[in-house]
Symmetry: D3
Subunit: 133 residues, 6 copies
Amino acid sequence: MNGVSGLIEYDAASAEVRAVYDDIMATRKVDRVNNFWKVLANHPPTLQQVWAEVKAVMTPGALDPLTKEMIYVAVSATNGCEYCTHSHTAGARAKGMTEEMLGELLAVTALANKTNRLANGYRVPVDEMFRNT
Amino acid sequence: MNGVSGLIEYDAASAEVRAVYDDIMATRKVDRVNNFWKVLANHPPTLQQVWAEVKAVMTPGALDPLTKEMIYVAVSATNGCEYCTHSHTAGARAKGMTEEMLGELLAVTALANKTNRLANGYRVPVDEMFRNT
Amino acid sequence: MNGVSGLIEYDAASAEVRAVYDDIMATRKVDRVNNFWKVLANHPPTLQQVWAEVKAVMTPGALDPLTKEMIYVAVSATNGCEYCTHSHTAGARAKGMTEEMLGELLAVTALANKTNRLANGYRVPVDEMFRNT
Amino acid sequence: MNGVSGLIEYDAASAEVRAVYDDIMATRKVDRVNNFWKVLANHPPTLQQVWAEVKAVMTPGALDPLTKEMIYVAVSATNGCEYCTHSHTAGARAKGMTEEMLGELLAVTALANKTNRLANGYRVPVDEMFRNT
Amino acid sequence: MNGVSGLIEYDAASAEVRAVYDDIMATRKVDRVNNFWKVLANHPPTLQQVWAEVKAVMTPGALDPLTKEMIYVAVSATNGCEYCTHSHTAGARAKGMTEEMLGELLAVTALANKTNRLANGYRVPVDEMFRNT
Amino acid sequence: MNGVSGLIEYDAASAEVRAVYDDIMATRKVDRVNNFWKVLANHPPTLQQVWAEVKAVMTPGALDPLTKEMIYVAVSATNGCEYCTHSHTAGARAKGMTEEMLGELLAVTALANKTNRLANGYRVPVDEMFRNT
């Protein structure tokens, strides 16, 4: 199941790529990086930019990391992205998501996808009260 | 800005439709129903089924109602559904979502939509460790 | 509500564009063409190709025209295309679709969009029996 | 090819899950349930709700079951859902869909996905006559 | 990994299907056709129509073939189509796309998918100056 | 046509927001910023991050700015994003895109959306030769 571009392993990586790998491992307290980063390493500017963004966006803020991870799963399931669904569901579980929470998360995701199409199919006019938020 | 089917107002509604409208207003403690329900009333089985599902799924459970509403917004923004984005953002704000929380919610949604396409474009192979969850 | 490219009216159209407009009006037994064609006329090869394809694909075959029109609505609602949802719902109604049929059509469309995400979110493995069709 | 959550087989299922499995098998006159239901069983409320909805929506009504199944395929192909495309194409074939009917179904689905983007890319303004349906 | 319909090999193909296969091989100067065409051969009108369209649209015009192929990859990655992402990335590479060009192509695709959702989530009103193009 | 969050004009903006607005105007040599940025200003970290990314990604590199802008349009039309379709089509025209180039760009976008669904609907197995790129 080869991808479009090869995986760049640590040993074969340039100094700038290794620096990102090192930061990922240090930040996440793990001893390896997952395939997503090994593929992005084929284009170092993307590797650096995406990691910096993930690090900034997924950090605790007005929303906690688990809520953010669950939002990530909802979007990935909506888009049908196999890789992201697997990796972020694993990430959410590592942050404490139970099977019941996953069940509710996917039930909301499924319901939203359903009512999105009812609203689109019937072309429901937006209520004035929603526009003045 | 007419929709595909007309809005069925309370006064013109059948008894079965009024029963749903009454339950929506009683459950939400409001004195009117929004356009989404007035349009679904053109097909009473859909009106009844969707309301029952919304009521069951969006209730407090393993996830709190605000988290559920924010997941709804993330999906609706991903799908580009104008109606649902307006109505559920209003719903999330009514449940306490601040502008900063919305900012983070959309930042995660945007990032997920971005990395979903990097994973899809490079066809990144799923790591074995993610499959054994 | 200007579009990206202007509408090319019959009087201002070239001979090759008029030939397509004439065929659309003759085939559909109407005395005007709708905006979709007037915009495609900005790129005559697209106008000719799309009209030829619509004419060939939407004609009676193993599936009847109303069924085809309803499939068109299901796809357009799924993609959230405002123009196509309006035009093909009108087309389906002109071919006999009742409000109840529209209700069922959108109920199936909504359900499919929902279960698509449950299957994607849980990454349900495909049953062997489905692969050997 | 492990999914996100395990398959819950009949023997390991709770009484409430078995009741749904029994109803699926009795309704469809089959002696096993497919993986979709075995995965949903990880969240019994979803299993019960989805099965009840599928049973109600896919039943003969103003539209016949084969037409409904084909609409399901059109949506699933549009969304790129591998599981649902396989299972509902198998379902449509079991209800009488021939290879030629599938060919026309996918030709309409493909055409709709194409013209949806032409309408979106050119931002074609909706004709007034379509709004007054 | 069986598909929904079987592959129709040259030896088993009808005369009309062989004529398309022959034209594909002659046009592309290759000695075999890829699976996409072998599957479309299950519905000859689709095979003929799609090949004619691909031939006409992907030919050099106001845009060069490599630019067209890269646009194809951007759309396929956005939709998450595994087959098309693989085949058109291979096609773009055959036309001269380097790893760095692919990196930039996917970086733009990813950014567009991200800002599309920010615009949709915030429902940004279109500037008047953009409407008067 | 109010959006979800208000527009933050220059005079009402904080120093950090003004700094971004100033850089946008200086970089693009224009004397105002468009609504997208005025809305993102409701969440300054997103405003800063997105502008920095747009600046870095859309700059001349292995691909020229016009090609990048056209890829942006293809993705935005595929996703049905009204705002981005208008703004990036205007951007591409400002960089030299003619009506004929737009016609070909949208013809490729439309074709890709079509064949994506044929590949998905038939679940075409990926050719081995495409995997070994």
